[in-house]
């Protein structure tokens, strides 16, 4: 493991970026996990690695349109996911079966997400170097 190409490691092998996948599995406001995941993405963006995000199970609720958290006094962060592209996050994958199980469709999601089958997310997971669950 000593030769791993880790961010910040000056001796790491050249230009190749490390693939990081953030998997969001939890609903947005019941726990702090998804919000923390978003914060970590923003921090990781500084390292200019290859970052992807996938939303499965209750994680799909993170991208639900029309969330209004004013009454809770907390930040509504679904909109923030939409603007991650300049940070190097080019793909926001959403599991179709998780949406369907929750009575949701692609139209219920904020703009810019890619609704895909579980097999496609499995393929994305399989090529990652680091997977961080939130």
């Amino acid at each position: 493991m000593a030769d791993e190409n880790i961010p910040g490691d000056e001796d790491a092998g050249g230009e190749e970026k490390v693939k990081f996948l953030f998997i969001f599995k939890k609903a947005p406001h019941g726990t702090i996990y998804p919000y923390e995941g978003l914060e970590v993405i923003l921090i990781m963006a500084a390292y200019e690695q290859e970052i992807t995000a996938a939303f499965v199970d209750d994680g799909v609720y993170c991208l639900k349109k029309g969330q209004d958290t004013t009454g809770l006094g907390i930040k509504e962060f679904a909109k923030t996911f939409k603007v991650l592209e300049p940070y190097g996050v080019e793909h926001l994958y959403v599991d179709r079966a998780s949406l369907e199980a929750r009575g949701l469709t692609e139209e219920d999601m904020v703009a810019g997400v890619e609704v895909v089958e579980a097999e496609e997310i499995a393929a994305v997971i399989s090529v990652q170097k680091v997977v961080l669950p939130f």
Binding site: M1, I23, K25, V56, D57, D95, A97, A118, I121, A122, A123, I125, S126, Q128, K129, V130, V131, P133
Partner: protein
């Protein structure tokens, strides 16, 4: 990619969900309360029996022993802490927590 599951499959859908997203030949390691998924005779037995046809499923010996689980679903492999370390050294890890 090694998938790890540490929650009881009777409390969360993590194990089922993990098996949906684990690639065809990706090994799965059950530890902590995840090892309840390895016990024979539960409602999950068919799911696990089908899953082991495609991939290795491991259960952590120390967690099985601590919970008194001695009858495992056929095909589930037992590993100790040393085996856990070997698996983590051999694979990238996708913690399905």
């Amino acid at each position: 990619m090694l998938f790890t599951v540490n929650k009881s499959p009777f409390t969360t859908e993590n194990l089922k969900s993990c098996l949906r997203f684990a690639g065809k030949d990706a090994p799965v390691l059950l530890y902590e309360d995840g090892v309840y998924g390895a016990q024979a005779g539960t409602t999950l037995e068919k799911l696990i029996t089908d899953a082991v046809k495609a991939r290795a499923i491991y259960a952590l010996k120390e967690d099985l022993a601590a919970r008194g689980i001695d009858k495992l679903i056929g095909g589930v492999q037992v590993v100790d802490y040393g085996g856990f370390v070997d698996l983590v050294a051999e694979h990238n890890v996708c913690p399905w927590i």
